[in-house]
């Protein structure tokens, strides 16, 4: 890695002076993009912070949402951890705001029109694609202020574009690494699959420095599957133990498209995750999956929306939380079936495995059905670890921590086995296992 360039920027908060400077450094980018950033910065300032009376923030620890005193990191860290390895097509690694590692897309795929580039580069070379899909369908589940902040300061992220009929077997990987005290990351990744295309993108969100660095992350994804496309997205989050994180997924599936999204939540102090699937064409399917290991005093706050716009669409949501210590999880999910969306099949399940008596799991499932010929169900369960299973493992000499690891892995398996890619399955299992140390 080359020596980081010294920056003349003073470390200040995310104020208008800092924003003006951020913009001026990007003068080479398309005008529409700079305008969008300006509008977003104004929106960020105009929007209120979440408040008690706001239904979309029910049960959230609002006092924990303190975004003051953060700035943009200037230089990449000299040492950054790497995500778990598995066979991949290409990767882009960010440290703070810079690209520090990048492998090129195989020539044969590039020749077919596959684009995989850092967002800033894609804005220059393929600005039209970015413009077409950037925040085309904002998620709007409560974090609009932080999405606006993301747009204003977008710092890392990528565009993956796979044209019609191109299938890519191995995953594309984007790693965001944030290092430093009081610094913020604003990742934004856009995945666009053309008709009948097939691809997987795995995104890692990792803190690179001391385990307790105070950090802020506000990330956004736009995932778009055109007619008959098959998109798999995995987001694996392992921020520092003192990170306040927001991540907002927007998922769009057109006719006969299939999107599987799996978000793995491990790190952070307080993490809000929002995901909205829109099923726009008949035959579209969205598989919405999430796994959370909540330990210590962590809070994971997950809000979802399954919007069935077209008839004959299906969605299946399964969010599983393993809770230890005094951790807290919130799941709030809504299924909306619009009037035209007859023959919708929509399922929503939140399952909590309680490994501690002092952990807290809230579940707020919801349905809003405007069509009359649909199949919808939602439910939530909280169960303790099975004492007989636990004893069986202990009786074989397996220590308490390892016993929990095995039982949590067993609990998660129902979600992980939905991944087609076995290597990815193994990599995520390993990442989860790393949360259970002796």
């Amino acid at each position: 890695m080359s020596a980081p360039a010294l920056s003349s920027d003073a470390v200040i908060g995310l104020d208008s002076a800092r924003f003006a400077q951020h913009l001026s450094q990007r003068a080479y980018l398309p005008a529409w993009w700079l305008e969008a950033k300006k509008a977003a910065f104004n929106q960020f300032n105009a929007l209120p912070m979440p408040s008690r009376t706001d239904e979309t923030w029910r049960f959230s620890n609002l006092k924990g949402i303190d975004i003051s005193g953060f700035t943009l990191p200037e230089d990449p860290a000299t040492q950054i951890p790497n995500h778990t390895r598995f066979p991949q097509t290409a990767e882009i690694v960010f440290s703070n705001r810079q690209v520090v590692g990048r492998s090129t897309v195989p020539a044969e795929l590039a020749a077919k029109g596959v684009i995989f580039a850092p967002l800033d580069e894609a804005l220059k070379t393929h600005g039209d694609i970015v413009k077409q899909y950037f925040q085309k369908h904002p998620a709007s589940l409560g974090s609009e202020k932080f999405v606006a902040l993301n747009t204003a300061f977008t710092s890392s992220g990528a565009l993956l574009y796979v044209p019609a009929d191109v299938e890519v077997a191995l995953p594309f990987v984007v790693q965001h690494t944030l290092t430093g005290e009081n610094v913020a990351a604003f990742p934004h990744t856009i995945v666009v699959l053309g008709p009948r295309a097939k691809a997987t993108l795995v995104e890692f969100f990792i803190s690179g420095g001391a385990a307790n660095e105070r950090q802020l992350a506000a990330g956004v994804n736009d995932l778009h599957a055109a007619e008959g496309a098959q998109l798999t997205y995995v987001g694996a989050q392992h921020w520092s133990a003192n990170t306040l994180a927001f991540q907002v997924n927007s998922i769009v599936a057109e006719r006969d498209a299939r999107v599987l999204s799996l978000n793995l939540h491990l790190g952070g102090r307080q993490c809000r995750h929002e995901s909205n699937s829109r099923l726009l064409g008949p035959g579209a399917h969205s598989e919405m999956l999430a796994l959370t290991v909540a330990t210590g005093a962590q809070e994971f706050d997950q809000r979802t929306l399954q919007t069935h716009v077209a008839p004959h669409t299906t969605s299946n949501l399964l969010y599983k939380n393993a809770l230890l210590d005094t951790a807290k999880t919130i799941f709030s999910g809504l299924i909306i079936v619009e009037p035209d969306a007859q023959k919708t099949d929509a399922y929503q399940k939140n399952r909590n495995l309680m490994l501690s008596d002092t952990a807290e799991a809230h579940s707020l499932p919801g349905l809003e059905i405007q069509a009359n010929d649909v199949k919808c169900s939602h439910g939530s369960t909280s169960a303790r670890i099975d004492a007989e299973q636990e004893f069986y493992l202990r009786a074989r000499g397996i220590n308490p921590v390892e016993t929990r690891r095995l039982l949590v892995a067993a609990f998660f398996e129902e979600v992980l086995e939905k991944l087609e890619n076995e290597d990815l399955h193994v990599a995520l299992t390993g990442l989860i296992a790393s949360q259970f140390k002796r």
């Binding site: 299973q389 202990r394 009786a395 074989r396 095995l406 039982l407 067993a410 609990f411």
Partner: protein
């Protein structure tokens, strides 16, 4: 040679500590020995074996259990297992989502020194050879622990675990129930080879049949939480012929 000593042991349910189930039981097992315990349903045989293994449902209200002269009562269940105790469960738990391979791997890994990594190739080689010996299909390694197993398959899986973990003392709680005659022979062969080495066995059974294959050095009759009669293998035959009423009458006569 190792020894497992059970001294005037009283065991109750943790919820009702004043109502003992095991009521002053004494028994010493040495490695190389096979002790059979027979006794009517509900007499406390499983309670005894689970309490020794450290099951949290039970409390030992008095007495002691010593492994090579040292009490194990303060040890956690996993420590007892690593110290060399093995319980073959009467009703093994099903653990959906944990494969046999991963489960046994964790159990074998648990016995390695801190920081020592398991040699995966050697592990699988050993696992497969034990499976072949016990005539368990290798496909079972990827199946979830006991999930959907037949009664006999569960018991064979218990024996596979015992073979992999090489305990000093094995408490086998009705391992013979549910086994077909071929499986019984295989299990018996397994135990017989192991006991030639450094293994002591406590065999809880209702059937003399098993004892034709695993010849016990001692047979004990357990009744109402105690051992009321001990003898050699002929005692099992006598029990089979006369039933438990014979023991009851003898007991009544003795206490009258």
């Amino acid at each position: 040679m190792s020894s497992l000593e059970i001294r005037s042991l009283y065991v109750a349910l943790a919820a009702t500590p004043d109502k003992p189930i095991v009521k002053g039981l004494d028994l010493t097992i040495k490695t190389g020995e096979v002790h059979a315990i027979m006794g009517p349903n509900g007499t406390g045989k499983s309670t005894l074996s689970k309490a020794i293994a450290g099951h949290p449902d039970y409390v030992i209200t008095s007495g002691d259990v010593l492994l090579d002269g040292k009490s194990i009562l303060e040890m956690e269940p996993d420590e007892r297992a690593r110290a060399g105790l093995f319980l073959a469960f009467q009703y093994p738990s099903e653990i959906p989502g944990v494969s046999i391979a991963n489960f046994l791997r964790a159990a074998v890994q648990a016995r390695l020194a801190e920081g020592e990594e398991l040699d995966a190739t050697a592990y699988y080689k050993r696992l497969y050879s034990k499976m072949d010996l016990l005539k368990i299909d290798r496909k079972f390694t990827s199946r979830s622990v006991n999930e959907g197993f037949s009664g006999g398959e569960k018991k064979r899986c218990e024996i596979l675990q015992m073979a992999m973990l090489e305990p000093k003392f094995s408490l086998m709680d009705e391992t013979d129930s549910g086994l077909d005659i071929d499986a019984l022979r295989i299990v018996a062969e397994g135990v017989n080879t192991l006991k030639g080495g450094e293994l002591g066995v406590l065999l809880i059974t209702h059937y003399q049949r098993l004892l034709n294959y695993i010849v016990p050095d001692f047979v004990h009759v357990m009744y109402d939480g105690r051992i009321v009669k001990s003898g050699d293998k002929s005692l099992a035959l006598e029990l089979e012929a006369k039933g438990y009423d014979w023991v009851k009458t003898e007991l009544a006569a003795a206490t009258a």
